[in-house]
Amino acid sequence: MAAIEQLTQDFLRTKKLPHIWCPGCGNGIVTAAMVRAFKRAGFEQRDIVIVSGIGCSSRAAGYLNFNTLHTTHGRALSFATGLKMARPELHVFVIMGDGDCSAIGGNHFIHTARRNIDLNAVIVNNHIYGMTGGQHSPLTPSGKKATTAPLGTLERSFDLLELARGAGATFGARGTAAQPRQLEQLMVRGAKHKGFSVIEALSPCPISYGRRNKLGGPVEMLLDIKNKSVPVERASEMSSEELEGKNVTGLIYAYDAPEFSEEYYRMIEQFKDK
């Protein structure tokens, strides 16, 4: 059996396929990169738990053949924190969309970063609420149109990885659906990192975002994402003017700091006989 078929057999709920995503959606590419990353990281199926929030990308939990929890809008990280504290030996991956993670779940996001708990957040950023039909999210670039911003959104968007860094996350990386191999490598590194890993995956939503903003079809959108991405190594030599409108990709930061679940159990050990 070809490696890819084996991977599908092992890690996907094939009975649930075909998936519900629109043709040309990037969610499938990001999910496939995740599955390959699990394999490359050498994780066993039984040790992986997937937690997802609500939105198109979060439907991945239904297709991934692990213990999966499809949770509520914005609260995936809180569910995952509870799970990790109860079973710290498990590898917990949390799939969220930009709306889910950065709007209604923003509070949980910063506090998960602050604790530096060993969770792996994969945030599929397609700049829109896709599932509900294209409302603007906090990561919709200013001026881009949405059903709730027919003239273009007035609000400013922000850099999720910088927010996470400011709040205490110890691993931040950005990949794209246009560069799935790099995305997969970043996911492997994030998975092996001890502490809160944030992986932002820029992904096309041709239906709810691309159409309204006349960004072309899936191919044009993928090319656009690719053309706008600048590897972090190159970005360090570019001025802020040159980086305007670009997305810096690769491993943006990684450093060591005490991990929450380890510290917690260490404290229990320390005080258990006192």
Binding site: H73, A103, I104, Y129, G133, Q135, P138, T147, T148
Partner: protein, 379 residues
């Protein structure tokens, strides 16, 4: 001048809000409410909303935003569904306590776990004790009319009002809706006159700490204001009828001659029952429109006038451990009646569809010797 348009319940809600001379709309997207806010966003983009449109980062923020604007005297509206409504819960209590006359559309959808999109009414019914008026609609025309009336009712009583209708069956289903011109609507409802609580130049601390005694006084005044709602609603409907030719009650009863059984229900299921009535023997319909306050007096009056022996309540909801919520409320309203009818309950919790066959089957399982039967839509 009136014009018929073929629109769905969500668009009807949005157009009513636009016609009401709204100052501010704040919302967060959730299925099946999205079409309401998208239609309002379109009005805003075309410069036709007449007020501001803001899309926030959560339902909790949306209702908090409405609270702030209402404190400043603005006429505000929001819309949500299901988990969005549940997430607003703290603010839902707050705006009633603060006497902010906010109007909200809630599009019924089941609450998880697990995820389900069907129109269980448990989302709005679980907010029944928060001090909001609640009115349930059975079609798009009713949604349009009720939203306009809700502003009038809410601003007069200084109580927020939730206008409720079923996800998809009403929110996404098209029908011909009679839409009055904005200037005619202006004759029904003028600019907000309830007064701001925040007044520049008149500094004051709003909603600070109260003693238990003062808190009780405030709760009681809200309770008494709410009890005025059925009579006031009738008055408002009288005015509405004179202008637009349509009128609704806290309950609407259709009793064919000789009816001894009544089917009581709220929302889209009332429309299904209405269509089935010609096929049913000696059976009438009581559409429960107002749920808070619960129109106990009006209900008892109808049941006594028509000498109803049996009521079949269709509840697209279930209070776990107690049964269908409309049936529970009806039973308590009957307390003290000399000859209360038997109350049977058909529970469609989960958002199960009501069909003619289900109604007939339920009616056949209500023997006269039984005072109460619990039937489920799914065996």
């Amino acid at each position: 001048m009136m014009a018929f348009e073929v629109i769905n319940g969500s668009q009807a809600a949005a157009i009513a809000v636009q016609r009401a001379g709204i100052d501010l709309v704040a919302a967060y997207p959730i299925t099946p409410q999205t079409v309401i806010v998208e239609t309002l966003a379109d009005f805003a983009a075309k410069g036709e909303l007449g007020g501001e449109f803001v899309s926030l980062e959560s339902e909790y923020s949306a209702l908090s935003f409405c609270n702030g604007a209402s404190a400043a005297g603005a006429r505000v509206f929001t819309a949500t569904a299901s988990h969005g409504l549940a997430y607003m819960h703290e603010m839902i209590h707050w705006c009633s306590g603060a006497r902010f006359p906010i109007v909200m559309a809630n599009v019924n959808r089941a609450i998880g776990a697990p995820w389900c999109l069907d129109p269980d009414q448990g989302d709005s019914l679980s907010q029944r004790d928060t001090g909001w008026l609640q009115i349930y609609c059975s079609g798009a025309q009713e949604v349009f009319d009720t939203i306009l009336q809700a502003f009038a009712l809410s601003e007069e009583l200084l109580l927020p009002c939730m206008v409720v209708f079923d996800g998809f069956y009403i929110s996404h289903t098209y029908e011909a809706v009679d839409i009055p011109e904005i200037q005619d609507v202006g004759k029904f409802i003028g600019p907000p006159s309830f007064g701001a609580q925040v007044i520049p130049g008149e500094p004051g601390n709003l909603h600070g700490m109260a003693s238990a005694e003062n808190q009780q006084r405030l709760v009681r005044s809200r309770h008494e204001a709410m009890l005025r709602a059925p009579a006031l609603y009738e008055e408002i409907n009288g005015r509405y009828e004179r202008l637009f030719g349509r009128k609704y009650g806290a309950i609407d009863a259709v009793m064919p001659p000789g009816a001894r059984t009544a089917i009581l229900t709220a929302g889209a299921t009332a429309e299904t029952v209405r269509w089935c009535l010609p096929d049913l023997e000696q059976t009438g319909l009581i559409q429960l429109r107002m749920f808070r306050p619960f129109p106990a007096k009006q209900l008892c009056a109808v049941l006594e006038t028509y000498d109803i022996e049996k009521v079949l309540v269709v509840d697209r909801n279930c209070s776990i451990g107690a049964g269908g919520i409309f049936a529970q409320e009806l039973k308590s309203a009957l307390y003290g009646l000399a000859r209360p009818p038997a109350v049977h309950d058909l529970i469609l919790a989960g958002g199960v569809d009501l069909t003619g066959a289900l109604i007939k089957n339920a009616l056949s399982k209500m023997p006269l010797e039984n005072r109460s039967t619990e039937l489920w839509g799914v065996e």
